[in-house]
């Protein structure tokens, strides 16, 4: 109930709503309106409905849509478009827990290789290229894409979604792994050379995944790479898996996989079959 004996002039209320009053006068009027039911009822209609709706909509959206993951918010500050941020937020492998797990594993294998004083590069060479590959495989989403039947039929399309997620995973994992690679003992070029198989395995994964799904494709690639690295670790030089001839083989395989994806998307009538 109002306990005041005077009421604010309508012009004064209007000036307040339109933000034309100075801070002192505004504060004084706010105190009065807090206590005066009559002035509150007068000021309500002066506030434009769209302004109120916009404020309310903003509050509701904040509560209803939930917060985007920290990494996506950071990326948005660096210029990532807002809609792309929403798409990436749904990507399992961009979650902080997954990234932390990947990084901790990388740190351990780097440490193992350092402690072995360059004699055993294989732990690093085994794990570093697999981190981005598994990241991309996981980024297809939990249990692949739970609403894949729908994603396929949207104008954005599943293939583009997978490419955006793949780029995001590579952007996040490759620099960290490259920095750790610099701390390795042995020849400096190894720090960069492992990027060869890592990058080659991405088109291989996408091509295999178009046939078998991402889970099986990632498992097959991981097994293949593990076998190769462990085979080399027995008798061959520790840098063998990333030496020149092998790099040419990786590049060839990557190009073949890319060509396979391209032909498959052109030839087959099946919509969205490639990727």
């Amino acid at each position: 109930m109002s306990t005041t004996t005077w009421h604010a002039d309508p012009n004064l209320l209007r000036a307040y709503v339109e933000g034309r009053l100075d801070a002192v006068l505004s504060a004084s009027l706010e105190r009065h309106v807090d206590a005066c039911a009559h002035c509150r009822s007068q000021i309500g209609p002066l506030v434009e409905v769209p302004v109120l709706e916009e404020a309310w909509s903003g509050i509701r959206t904040g509560i209803e849509s939930g917060r985007l993951p920290l990494l996506v918010r950071l990326a948005q500050r660096l210029g990532l478009p807002e809609p792309t941020g929403i798409l990436l937020a749904a990507t399992a492998s961009l979650r902080l827990t997954w990234l932390t797990g990947g990084l901790v594993t990388l740190c351990f294998v780097t440490l193992a290789s350092i402690l072995a004083d360059g004699a055993a590069l294989w732990p690093f060479l085994l794990v570093a290229p697999l981190v981005p590959v598994l990241g991309v495989a996981v980024s297809y989403g939990p249990a692949e894409e739970p609403f894949e039947a729908l994603t396929v039929t949207t104008p954005y399309g599943r293939a583009r979604l997978i490419m955006v997620r793949t780029l995001a995973v590579l952007t996040l994992t490759l620099p960290a792994a490259a920095l750790l690679g610099l701390t390795l003992p042995g020849p400096a070029w190894v720090a960069v050379a492992w990027l060869g198989p890592a990058l080659a395995m991405i088109p291989l994964l996408l091509a295999l995944a178009s046939l078998t799904g991402p889970r099986l494709a990632a498992s097959l690639l991981s097994l293949g790479w593990t076998g190769l690295v462990l085979f080399a670790a027995r008798d061959l030089p520790s840098t063998w898996p990333v030496e020149g001839t092998q790099q040419v083989a990786y590049l060839t395989l990557a190009l073949l996989a890319a060509a396979f994806l391209w032909v498959r998307s052109q030839r087959t009538q099946q919509i969205g079959v490639a990727l």
């Binding site: 798409l87 039929t153 399309g157």
Partner: protein, 286 residues
């Protein structure tokens, strides 16, 4: 015509799912009936650009989705689709899920997108549950979330695979109203096992049996095809396609030779469907 199919066929591992389908669909609500395995979902997936037919031509909203990426995307821009089974991410809110799909449907302006998400959630009576996780919703509520995303942007072609599954009678009534409004400007194509949905909301009914169109026409004509073939009596008709207890008393028999004293009953969509499909319908409904 929003949908034009010519000679469309599709098989899975040698088993034909659809054969020689010729269809034209304009505005209004078209109901798709048929026993399980008749090819309803396959047909809807082809129209929703989820899969391609093995043979035949498809034109959607004036575009040929198999002629290249630009045509495909142009067709998809006018499409809303609810698949028969839709997985839901465990950790997304209802609002977040629909907003995610809105982004995939190119709603890039944030304010317009969020207004649209709120509008479609309102259409399916889920505005108050927008902040709740999809995983915490009931089956019927999740089905409505699926419907909400299909309604994003008032698509010119709405393809709904069993939209009324899991909805209670009041929710079904709301959905029918929503679809009737949408169908004034759009083509709504829905599959269902509920023949009363067809009677209540559809202008046209297509019955698929064994991958072929067994009936295509308006609902009134379909119902009329069962006239004088539905009987009320105190006991079942021996050679009827189906019989069941009538709520008004007595036994309702569809088809067969009426015994003396049997009274002809006004037919329904269900009667016409049972007569057309025969024993396959009775088995399919099991």
């Amino acid at each position: 015509m929003n949908v034009q199919l010519t000679g469309v066929a599709k098989s899975y591992g040698g088993t034909p799912a659809l054969q020689d389908i010729d269809l034209e669909i304009g505005t209004g609500v078209t109901g798709l009936l048929g026993p399980n395995g008749a090819g309803k979902t396959t047909l809807l997936r082809i129209i929703a650009t989820s899969i391609a037919p093995d043979r035949g031509k498809v034109r959607l909203l004036g575009h040929d989705p198999h002629r290249g990426h630009a045509e495909l995307v142009a067709a998809r821009r006018g499409l809303g689709y609810l698949p028969q089974e839709l997985g839901y991410p465990a950790d997304m809110s209802t609002f977040g899920f629909v907003e995610y799909l809105a982004v995939l449907k190119e709603w890039n302006d944030r304010r317009a997108r969020q207004q649209e998400v709120r509008r479609v959630l309102g259409l399916v009576d889920l505005a108050d549950l927008a902040g709740k996780r999809v995983s915490k919703l009931s089956g019927g509520q999740r089905r409505r979330v699926g419907l909400a995303q299909a309604l994003l942007g008032d698509p010119a072609l709405l393809v709904l695979d069993e939209p009324t599954t899991g909805l209670d009678p009041a929710q079904r009534a709301t959905l029918r109203r929503t679809l009737s409004v949408a169908a004034r400007q759009s083509s709504v194509l829905l599959s269902t096992h509920q023949t009363e949905d067809v009677a209540a909301v559809c202008d046209r009914v297509i019955v698929l049996v064994g991958g072929r169109v067994a009936h295509d026409g308006d609902v009134a004509g379909f119902v009329a095809s069962a006239r004088d073939r539905v009987w009320l009596h105190d006991r079942p008709v021996a050679d009827a396609v189906a019989t069941w207890r009538d709520p008004a008393g007595g036994v309702r028999s569809v088809g067969g030779t009426p015994p003396t004293g049997a009274q002809a009953a006004p037919p329904t969509v269900e009667d016409a469907y049972l007569l057309l499909v025969g024993p396959a319908a009775v088995e399919g409904a099991a």
